[in-house]
């Protein structure tokens, strides 16, 4: 292609590059916000950047990050999962019940080993996740309603398991052969808390699925244009069910980790966690309309929220103000997101020109 650059072309190109920069900054906004927060808090609170504090921070972040990772898949298809907080509560209670009450089989109480406890807990939560997926994908219930329903169901079930009481002493007993549960939330590997390892490996796995597998691409496809996805032969219901399964699995892990950290299972655990997770996902640049977003974005979003709340606590900001600030950040994030999409649509012609140049 012979190119003679006209003056107009050159200014176009200049405009193009600055638009690209602007769009890039907007897209990567969560990273910038995170860096700004880190700088701000380490300047204001000297103890903020200590190893000890960072370990605590990372444990807090792990909880919302794990939920956000699962939630990202759901949101990418254009859905939402409100049940994850309740599900985390239910997961903890199932584990607590099995560890302290055991299973009655033929009149004899069996205490399953910790590994089995964890597997049963995960399965119970996966059943609820499947229910969510089935309701959304097959029964055609709106995701908001379906998961609002399971939010109540899971919370109710958690309360029913103990009549609203807490299951204490989850450390287990040697005699029952079910010790070791506290390791899940409390032990460390190479100086890094186990929950953080869990978060990191989930992150790696989720990212791999999202970017490198057909399944991940189908998730994006369903969120981008569900009708078109169906027409090209993508099994839309199956994809949706997968996303709710992933989300519920993450919720179960969070429930287990919290119960393990506290060595107790309380039925109210996880209240409003779903909102933190959704906030992290949105902050990370995932569109609630589906089709656009990423797993790393959600991880960064979770860090933003975690750093923000821990930092504010260290600065002694009152809990009430913390809520106001957190809410403002979330609303601002979505407003910026809208701005970004509008700019993108507006400058589409510029971006298109570039494409036709590329074709030769």
């Amino acid at each position: 292609m012979t190119t003679a650059i006209h003056p107009q072309n050159r200014s176009d190109r200049l405009a193009q590059s600055s638009i690209r920069t602007l769009l890039f900054v907007l897209r990567a906004r969560a990273v910038f916000v995170l860096i700004a927060l880190l700088v701000l808090f380490s300047a204001l609170a000297p103890s903020f950047l200590t190893t000890n504090n960072l370990a605590i921070l990372s444990k807090h972040v792990a909880i919302s990050a794990i939920l956000a990772i699962g939630m990202t898949f759901v949101v990418l298809t254009g859905g939402i999962d409100l049940s994850v907080g309740s599900l985390a509560g239910l997961g903890g209670m199932v584990a607590g019940y099995l560890l302290t009450q055991g299973i009655v089989l033929a009149g004899v109480i069996h205490y399953p080993p910790v590994v089995v406890v964890i597997l049963i807990t995960l399965s119970v939560c996966l059943v609820v996740g499947f229910l969510n997926g089935w309701l959304v994908a097959k029964a055609g219930v709106a995701p908001f309603i379906a998961t609002l329903g399971t939010l109540y169901i899971a919370r109710g079930a958690a309360l029913l398991m103990s009549n609203g009481r807490t299951f204490p002493n989850l450390a287990g007993q040697m005699a029952r052969g079910n010790t070791g549960f506290p390791h899940l939330g409390q032990s460390s590997m190479a100086g890094v808390p186990l929950p953080v390892w869990i978060m990191l490996s989930l992150f790696g796995l989720a990212w791999l699925i999202a970017v490198k597998t057909p399944l991940g691409r189908h998730v994006y496809a369903v969120g981008g244009n569900e009708r078109a996805a169906r027409l090209v032969g993508i099994e839309v219901p199956r994809v949706k069910i997968f996303t709710y399964l992933a989300s519920s699995l993450c919720a179960a892990l969070v429930g287990l980790i919290i119960a393990s950290q506290l060595e107790a299972a309380h039925p109210a655990t996880g209240e409003s966690f779903e909102l933190n997770a959704i906030a992290a996902v949105v902050l990370g640049g995932t569109s609630l309309m589906g089709g656009r977003g990423s797993i790393p974005g959600s991880l960064i979003g979770a860090f933003v929220i975690g750093v923000l709340s821990d930092g504010l606590v260290m600065l002694g900001v009152s809990e009430f103000w913390q809520m106001v600030i957190k809410g403002s950040v979330i609303v601002l994030a979505v407003a910026v997101d809208q701005l970004q999409s509008r700019l993108q649509a507006r400058f589409l012609p510029y971006l298109q020109t570039q494409n036709s140049e590329g074709a030769e």
């Binding site: 691409r217 496809a221 078109a228 993508i234 509008r342 649509a345 036709s356 590329g358 074709a359």
Partner: protein, 519 residues
């Protein structure tokens, strides 16, 4: 006999498809000849798309059978159809806008390495190869949201090619394309034909069909009414079969309207891009026209010419960027729908399912919905009005309390018209007044509109059908890329004139996004 039978690659036998309220396909038998461009013609709602959706596995037939290479086949999903070598490019493009080109080409059938991981290099290479063979090399990592409609369509064709399509169905492929894009698509079709692909081509643009087609099948109201090779086909042959008698019946006794007072004057109406939806980039540039009381004014134009936008801006559903509207000689500021209604302007929208009907409500409620005034609903009052209108418009319903969805397309359309008449309009705007309506109801709607015009109501309708414009309009304007490109009085309206005025002139403006470059 034997020879002919061998030439048939795909045969649909006695295919029947029912939708609630309509028989979309009535024992349709269609033969598709190998290595030919098999044209399927019919008006909107004739059943073309339904038949093709059945061949492509998107829908299943209620009766009949499909034969591929003489063997009975069952197609239950798009994937099954594709594996048999039957692929479709849908009328409403089905690209995934948030994915890039090669992701789109392989959506739903991704090649994998190590059992689970996507094989990007293979995808990119094969996508690039398919695009090159379509003479449209593009960067395969470009997001399809950034492509023009023509390029998106090529992406879909590339997908079918890579799937090894033997039979490629193109459903109204040119309806959204510029003429440059259309030309390059025709080239692609010729190439495909040469390389051994059988094409089924759906359109209702006669000149395209006559240019491309080898075999012609005409569908009307769910029945095959003609099937012939190119040499036996003429423009008249098609028009006769396509429209039947009902449509060509025109009213010659229309009164002269030169002296009627001017009801509506649109002065240089200009409309900006609608940023929200990438597909609708249609603009209106200084559109000026007048409409007299009792006149039926038709606006003909291709998809994307700005027809819908023009009507919507008159109805207050879009805000003007410039220009003015005069109603009865008085400047009218129409910025909301109720502004328009106050001045007696009401719109019958193009897509009655989406923008018109409220499916859960009864026929009566659907008619009365726009006219509820005051605090209390007087049912008796309402009922009297509704009854009068249903009688006047001949809405055939067993019971007015049945849900509106129980009606046929034609009757549903009459319900929308009745709703508009409840408001005693001075000007009735109709966007594609007979879309998805059978031939009988079509003629009836024309009669109704003429009767309304005779009462002094101004009628402004848009159409993408030449036949309709000719049958109904006292005067026709042609919109092309947002500008009025021609005006015809009743006896000047001909197919050729309308079509020529509606087709964009080549090379007037560069199309920034198409990326058309032949190697």
């Amino acid at each position: 006999m034997n020879e002919v039978a061998e030439d048939v690659i795909l045969e649909a036998r006695a295919i029947t498809k029912r939708y609630p309220g309509t028989l979309a396909l009535d024992a349709v038998t269609m033969r598709v000849y190998r290595n030919q461009v098999n044209v399927l013609i019919g008006e909107n709602g004739a059943g073309k798309s339904t038949l093709m959706r059945i061949l492509a596995g998107v829908e299943t037939a209620d009766g009949g059978e499909l034969l591929l290479e003489g063997e009975l086949i069952r197609i239950r999903s798009p994937r099954e159809a594709a594996s048999l070598g039957i692929s479709i490019v849908h009328q409403e493009l089905s690209v995934l806008p948030n994915l890039d080109i090669s992701e789109n080409v392989f959506a739903g059938r991704e090649p994998v390495r190590a059992a689970v991981l996507l094989d990007r290099p293979t995808e990119d290479a094969r996508s690039a190869r398919a695009l090159t063979s379509l003479r449209k090399p593009m960067q395969v990592r470009t997001k399809t949201a950034q492509l023009s409609l023509g390029c998106r369509q090529i992406v879909e064709v590339a997908r079918t090619l890579d799937q090894g399509a033997r039979v490629l169905i193109l459903d109204e492929p040119t309806s959204a394309l510029s003429s440059i894009e259309t030309d390059s698509l025709f080239q692609v079709i010729q190439d495909l034909k040469r390389s051994g692909v059988t094409i089924i081509y759906i359109s209702h643009r006669l000149h395209e069909l006559l240019h491309l087609g080898d075999w012609f099948t005409v569908l009307r109201s769910g029945r095959i009414v003609g099937h012939s090779p190119r040499i036996e086909v003429s423009r008249n042959w098609i028009v006769e079969r396509m429209s039947g008698r009902a449509v060509s019946e025109t009213a010659d006794d229309r009164p002269s309207l030169v002296d009627a007072p001017i009801l509506l004057a649109a002065n240089e109406i200009t409309l900006g891009t609608s940023g929200a939806d990438e597909a609708s980039q249609a603009l209106l540039h200084a559109v000026t026209f007048t409409l007299r009381r009792g006149e039926i004014l038709g606006i003909y134009g291709l998809l994307g010419a700005g027809r819908t936008e023009l009507l919507e801006s008159l109805a207050g559903a879009r805000r003007l960027l410039g220009g003015s509207i005069l109603v009865n000689g008085i400047q009218a500021h129409i910025s909301t729908v109720s502004d328009a209604v106050k001045r007696g302007i009401v719109l019958v929208p193009e897509d009655r399912q989406r923008d018109g009907l409220i499916p859960d409500l009864s026929i009566r409620e659907n008619i009365a919905i726009g006219s509820m005034r005051g605090i209390w609903l007087s049912r008796a009052d309402q009922m009297a009005h509704v009854r009068r209108l249903t009688k006047e418009l001949n809405i055939v319903a067993r019971d007015l309390e049945l849900p509106v969805t129980s009606l046929s397309g034609g009757n549903q359309q009459k319900v929308i018209i009745a709703r508009c008449l409840m408001r005693n309009p001075a000007l009735l705007l109709l966007d594609e007044p007979t879309r998805g309506v059978d031939v009988g109801a079509k003629a009836e709607i024309y009669t109704i509109l003429r009767r309304l015009a005779a009462k002094g109501i101004g009628i402004l309708f848009t159409s993408s059908e030449i036949e309709e414009t000719r049958a109904l309009a006292d005067r026709a304007l042609v919109l092309c890329q947002g500008r009025i490109s021609a005006e015809f009085s009743r006896n000047e309206i001909t197919d050729e004139a309308l079509f020529a005025a509606a087709s964009p002139v080549v090379n007037t403006a560069p199309i920034p996004s198409s990326g058309v470059q032949f190697a």
